[in-house]
C-alpha cells in the first residue's frame, strides 16, 4: 500500500491537495482537500447588497462572470426587480462567451498536457500533422510549413534547456498514447488558443468594460448603448462583437471540438475510467423567453414566490436531477433539497449539530483542526478540508458539463442530443461511455459547440432591439434602498461552466444580513458526509490505475476532467441571526 500525495495539484484554479491509497497499481481510496480559505461571506455581512456582486466576483476570476450574475440575480430576486430585455441579453452574451473562453482554455491549457506529450512533438513529421489537420477539419492553418515552423520554435525552446512551465512534466510516461504528429498538432493549438483567448475576451470587455472581472449591475447592466455616440455601444462596437463571435466559432468548430474527438479516440480506456457517482444535478441556465420575471417571484414579505430557475423548459440548459445513471428519468430540481454538512470540514456549527443545513438556515465558523504545517499527511479520518459537503436530497451529486449534457439529453434538448449522438457515433462508443473521465471532457466540448450556435440568436436580438431604439439596460425603479422592504430574501442560480451555482441572500434594513453560496467545486470536491457518502472527486478516483506513484498522471486526468476551481469551493457562511422561513422560497 502506497500513500500518494499530490500537492499542489497544478493546472487548476486554486489550492487543491489529493491524497490516495494505492495498492497493486490501483487507487483504493482518495481524499480531496481544499487548502485555502478567505471567508468572503463574513466580509459581506453588513454591506450594501448592490455591492455584493463585486465582492463575490473575486471568489474566482477564472469563470469570472458567474458569481457576479448569481449575486445580482439573488438581490433582484429578493427585491422583486425585473431587468430589461437588453440586460438579460447582455448577461447571456457575457456568460455564454465566458463558457466558450473558459472551456477552450481549460482543454488546452489545463487539461491537454495530461494527454499530450510536448516533447514527443519534436519527433513529428510536419507533413503528417498537416494531413491529420486536414482530415479533421477545414481549419486554414494546416500547411506543412506552418507545422514545421511550430516544430522549429518548439525545438529552439527545448534546446534552450529552459523548459519553463513544461519543466519536469511527465514526458515519456507510458500513459501517453498519441502519435507524435497529433502531439505536434496539439502543441500548435495550445499556442493558438493562447492568442485566441486574449482576442475573443474583447467581446466581454466591450459589454462589461474589461475581462477578467467585467462589470455588472443590480437591476440590469452598466452598459451604455447609444448608436449616435462614440462613447457608448454603437454600430462599430456591434460589428467588432460580430467579428469576435465568428473568430470564436471558427476555433471552437474547426479546432477545439475536432481536437477533443481526435485525442479521445486514442484513449478508449478512459471512457471506462473515472465515473464517480452516477448522480447528476443541473440547475439550468440561459433563459430563452426574455426576462419576464413575473410577480409570483417577488420575495420580501410575499411567500408566493416561485424559484427563479424552476421554469424548466424555458432555459437553453434545462435543470434536473439524475440518479444512478438513469438519464431517461430526469427529476425536477428543487433548491429546497440542497443542504450542507461540515462534519469533515474545518468548520463548526454553533449548535454543535452534525446535521446538514439549508443555505438559508446555515451558519458556519472556520476552525482549523488539521496538522500544524509543515505536515506530510492530513488526518483524513477526521476533518481534512476547507471544502464543505453539499448534498441534494441527502445524497452526493456531480455537477458540471457532464451533468448538464446528461440532463439536457434526458429531456430531449435537441442541439445537445444531436451533438452527443454524433460524437459517440464518431468515437464508436455507446452512451455509457459518457460516464467517465473522457465523458466529462467530451461533454464540455459538446456544450461549447451548442452554446456557440445559440449565442448568435441573442446577439441578433440585441442588434434588433437597438435598431428599434431600445437602449435601456437598467431598471432603476428600486435602485434606492428607501424603496426596499425592511427585510427580504432571495436566491440566484447560474449553471456555471463548472456546474450548478447558487447564492442565497438575506437583506435587512438595506444591508446584507446573510449571504451564502453553494458552488460547483464544493459539490464535486466535497469530503464525506456523516453517513460516509463520498463526493464526486473521491468516488471517481477509486479504481484509477497508477503506474508510477511519483508521476500520477492518471489521477490528474480524472481530476482535471472536472476542471477544479478551489477558490470557489471554499467559503464560509455567516451566522444569520434571524431565521426567515425558507418555505418562502418554495416553487
Amino acid at each position: 500500500m502506497t500513500r500518494l500525495v499530490i500537492d499542489p495539484v497544478t493546472r487548476i484554479e486554486g489550492h487543491l491537495r489529493i491524497e490516495a491509497e494505492v495498492d497493486s497499481g490501483l487507487v483504493k481510496k482518495a481524499w480531496a482537500s481544499g487548502t485555502m480559505f478567505r471567508g468572503l461571506e463574513l466580509i459581506l455581512k453588513g454591506r450594501d447588497p448592490r455591492d455584493a456582486w463585486y465582492f463575490v466576483q473575486r471568489i474566482c476570476s477564472v469563470c469570472t462572470a458567474v458569481h457576479a450574475i448569481a449575486s445580482v440575480r439573488a438581490v433582484e430576486n429578493a427585491l422583486g426587480i425585473t431587468i430589461p430585455e437588453n440586460a438579460q441579453l447582455i448577461r447571456n452574451l457575457i456568460e455564454a462567451m465566458q463558457y466558450i473562453h473558459d472551456h477552450v482554455m481549460h482543454f488546452y491549457h489545463l487539461h491537454a498536457l495530461d494527454w499530450v506529450d510536448v516533447t514527443s512533438a519534436l519527433n513529428a513529421d510536419p507533413k503528417k500533422t498537416s494531413q491529420l489537420q486536414e482530415s479533421i477539419s477545414d481549419w486554414p492553418r494546416s500547411n506543412p510549413r506552418y507545422f514545421q515552423d511550430v516544430k522549429d520554435r518548439l525545438e529552439t525552446f527545448v534546446d534552450s534547456g529552459q523548459l519553463g512551465i513544461f519543466a519536469n512534466g511527465y514526458w515519456g510516461h507510458p500513459a501517453y498514447k498519441l502519435p507524435p504528429e497529433a502531439d505536434l498538432l496539439a502543441v500548435a493549438h495550445y499556442i493558438n488558443a493562447l492568442d485566441w483567448q486574449k482576442s475573443v475576451s474583447r467581446f466581454i470587455a466591450i459589454l462589461g468594460g474589461r475581462h477578467p472581472c467585467p462589470n455588472f449591475l443590480v437591476g440590469g447592466m452598466a452598459t451604455a448603448i447609444n448608436p449616435d455616440s462614440d462613447q457608448a455601444l454603437n454600430a462599430s462596437r456591434l460589428i467588432l462583437m460580430k467579428e469576435l463571435l465568428q473568430e470564436a466559432q471558427d476555433f471552437v468548430e474547426k479546432v477545439y471540438f475536432p481536437d477533443v474527438l481526435a485525442i479521445a479516440s486514442f484513449y478508449p480506456e478512459w471512457t471506462k475510467l473515472g465515473e464517480g457517482l452516477g448522480n447528476f444535478l443541473a440547475c439550468g441556465d440561459f433563459q430563452l423567453d426574455g426576462p419576464k420575471v413575473d410577480d409570483s417571484r417577488r420575495v420580501g414579505s410575499s411567500t408566493t414566490r416561485r424559484d427563479p430557475v424552476d421554469k424548466a423548459g424555458n432555459m437553453f440548459f434545462p435543470s434536473g436531477v439524475i440518479w444512478n445513471r438513469k438519464i431517461e428519468e430526469v427529476k425536477k430540481f428543487n433548491q429546497e433539497q440542497i443542504t450542507e454538512y461540515v462534519s469533515r470540514s474545518w468548520y463548526t456549527y454553533s449548535d454543535g449539530s452534525t446535521d446538514a443545513k439549508h443555505p438559508f438556515d446555515g451558519e458556519t465558523n472556520p476552525k482549523y483542526t488539521g496538522p500544524k504545517p509543515p505536515y506530510d499527511f492530513l488526518t483524513v479520518d477526521e476533518k481534512y478540508s476547507w471544502i464543505k459537503s453539499p448534498r441534494y436530497d441527502g445524497k452526493p451529486v456531480e455537477v458540471g458539463p457532464l451533468a448538464r449534457v446528461l440532463v439536457a439529453y434526458g429531456m430531449g434538448q435537441k442541439q445537445i442530443t444531436d451533438l452527443v449522438d454524433k460524437s459517440i457515433r464518431q468515437l464508436g462508443v455507446g452512451k455509457e461511455a459518457l460516464f467517465s473521465t473522457l465523458g466529462r471532457t467530451l461533454a464540455r466540448a459538446i456544450e461549447t459547440v451548442a452554446l456557440m450556435d445559440e449565442i448568435w440568436g441573442w446577439y441578433n436580438k440585441f442588434v434588433v432591439n437597438i435598431g428599434a431604439g431600445d437602449y435601456t439596460t437598467a431598471n432603476t425603479e428600486k435602485w434606492e434602498p428607501s424603496t426596499w422592504p425592511a427585510e427580504a430574501q432571495g436566491v440566484g442560480f447560474v449553471d456555471a461552466p463548472r456546474g450548478a451555482l447558487g447564492h442565497w441572500i438575506k437583506i435587512k434594513n438595506g444591508k446584507i444580513d446573510h449571504y451564502q453560496m453553494v458552488v460547483p467545486t464544493t459539490w464535486n470536491a466535497s469530503p464525506p458526509d456523516p453517513s460516509g457518502q463520498i463526493g464526486a472527486y473521491e468516488a471517481s478516483l477509486v479504481g484509477t490505475p497508477v503506474v508510477d506513484a511519483d508521476k500520477p498522471i492518471e489521477v490528474l486526468r480524472t481530476i482535471h476532467s472536472f476542471d477544479p476551481c478551489i477558490a470557489c469551493a471554499v467559503h464560509v457562511h455567516d451566522a444569520g441571526k434571524k431565521k426567515i422561513k425558507s418555505a418562502g422560497i418554495m416553487p
Partner: protein
C-alpha cells in the same frame, strides 16, 4: 531564444521565432505607449533593440509565480496581455519556471521544478506573488504542499532579485483583508524585506502593466521608476479622472444621475454614481483593457478604485460618494 539562434541581425532573430518586422515595429510602438513615451520613441526603442538585444542569445530570465490567497484574476489578466502576448513572452522572453495554474508538473515534480529554478537562478529570478498572505492560525488558511503560504513566500523571496506584488491583494491585502479580515491577511511586503517589492495593484491589474514592467527590466536591466508606494510610474503616475474622456463633462458639471438616464447614454460624468476615478491612480483610461478595447467607465460602469489601498472598505458602498473627499 536559444544561444544557437543568436544573431545581431534582429530581423533574423525575430523571424526565427516567427515575428515579422511589422509585428516587431508594432510591439515597439506599444511598448512606447505603455512606457508613457511619445510615439517617436517607437523607432528609438526599435533601434535600441536592434543594436543590442539584451535578452537574445542569453538565458531567458527566470520568473517564479506564487499564488496565495487569490482568485487567479491576476493570472487571468496576465494571459490577456497584448504586447508581448503570453505565448510570446513564455516561449521567447522569460522562463516561467513556476506557476501552479500553468505548470505541466504537479505535486512532487512541481515542487522540484520550483526548487531547482530557485537554485539555478539564485539571486536573479523575479518572484511574482498573486494573492494576500494569511497569518492567523499558523498560516493554515493557505497551505501548499503541507507548508504555510507565509513559509513559501519567505523561502521563495529570499533568493529572488526582486518581488512583484501583483494585484491589490498582494500589494495591500485586498479582498481577504477587507473588514473584518477573517484570516488576518496581509500584504506581501510585510514578509520579504529587505527585497524590493514592486506593487502592481488592481483588482485585477491590467496584464500589460506587468508585461511592461518585466520588459523594462529585460531591455534596460533595471526597474522602471517607482512612486512613493513602489508602483511603476508609467502606469500609476496619474489619476484615472485626469485622463478620462468624460472629464470635460465633469468640468461642465454634466453629470449622470441614474443608469437609465439619457445623460448616462450621452457619456456624461459618472461621479454622482460613485465613480472613484478622481482618487484612483491607474492606467485604465489611457491604456484600457483587452488589447485597448475597453475600460470600466468607457463601457458605462463607474471606476470602483480597484487599484487603491483599502478600496474595499474606503471606497464602498461602490455607488456612493466618498465622504469628505472631492475630486480636483
Amino acid at each position: 531564444m536559444g544561444s544557437q539562434t543568436f544573431d545581431k541581425n534582429v530581423e533574423a532573430v525575430f523571424e526565427s521565432v516567427g515575428v515579422t518586422r511589422r509585428d516587431f515595429m508594432k510591439f515597439c510602438g506599444a511598448m512606447a505607449a505603455i512606457l508613457g513615451l511619445p510615439p517617436v520613441f517607437a523607432s528609438r526603442i526599435a533601434n535600441a533593440i536592434e543594436r543590442e538585444i539584451p535578452f537574445a542569445g542569453e538565458k531567458r530570465p527566470s520568473v517564479l509565480w506564487l499564488n496565495l490567497q487569490s482568485c487567479t484574476g491576476c493570472t487571468e489578466s496576465f494571459t490577456r496581455s497584448d504586447h508581448p502576448s503570453i505565448a510570446e513572452a513564455v516561449l521567447t522572453m522569460i522562463s516561467l519556471d513556476y506557476h501552479e495554474t500553468l505548470l505541466a508538473a504537479s505535486g512532487k515534480s512541481a515542487c522540484q521544478a520550483c526548487e531547482s529554478a530557485m537554485e539555478e537562478n539564485r539571486g536573479k529570478y523575479i518572484l511574482v506573488v498573486e494573492g494576500a498572505v494569511p497569518v492567523s492560525d499558523d498560516g493554515t488558511f493557505c497551505t501548499i504542499a503541507g507548508k504555510s503560504g507565509v513559509e513559501y513566500l519567505k523561502n521563495m523571496s529570499e533568493k529572488a532579485a526582486f518581488v512583484i506584488a501583483l494585484g491589490t491583494c498582494a500589494s495591500y491585502g485586498g479582498l481577504p483583508a477587507a473588514k473584518p479580515n477573517p484570516t488576518a491577511a496581509q500584504s506581501v511586503d510585510e514578509f520579504v524585506s529587505p527585497k524590493t517589492v514592486v506593487r502592481i495593484p488592481g483588482c485585477p491589474p491590467i496584464g500589460d502593466v506587468l508585461m511592461a514592467t518585466i520588459v523594462h527590466f529585460l531591455f534596460f536591466g533595471k526597474l522602471p521608476a517607482l512612486d512613493s508606494e513602489n508602483r511603476p510610474q508609467f502606469a500609476y503616475g496619474k489619476y484615472i479622472h485626469e485622463q478620462c474622456r468624460r472629464h470635460y463633462h465633469f468640468e461642465n458639471a454634466e453629470m449622470v444621475l441614474g443608469f437609465n438616464d439619457d445623460e448616462y447614454r450621452g457619456g456624461y460624468c459618472l461621479f454622482p454614481l460613485g465613480c472613484k476615478g478622481a482618487f484612483t491612480k491607474n492606467a485604465c483610461s489611457v491604456m484600457r483593457w483587452n488589447m485597448g478595447t475597453a475600460w470600466c467607465v468607457g463601457s458605462g460602469h463607474p471606476c470602483v478604485g480597484c487599484s487603491e489601498k483599502d478600496f474595499w472598505d474606503k471606497f464602498t458602498p461602490i455607488y456612493s460618494l466618498v465622504e469628505g473627499r472631492n475630486p480636483k
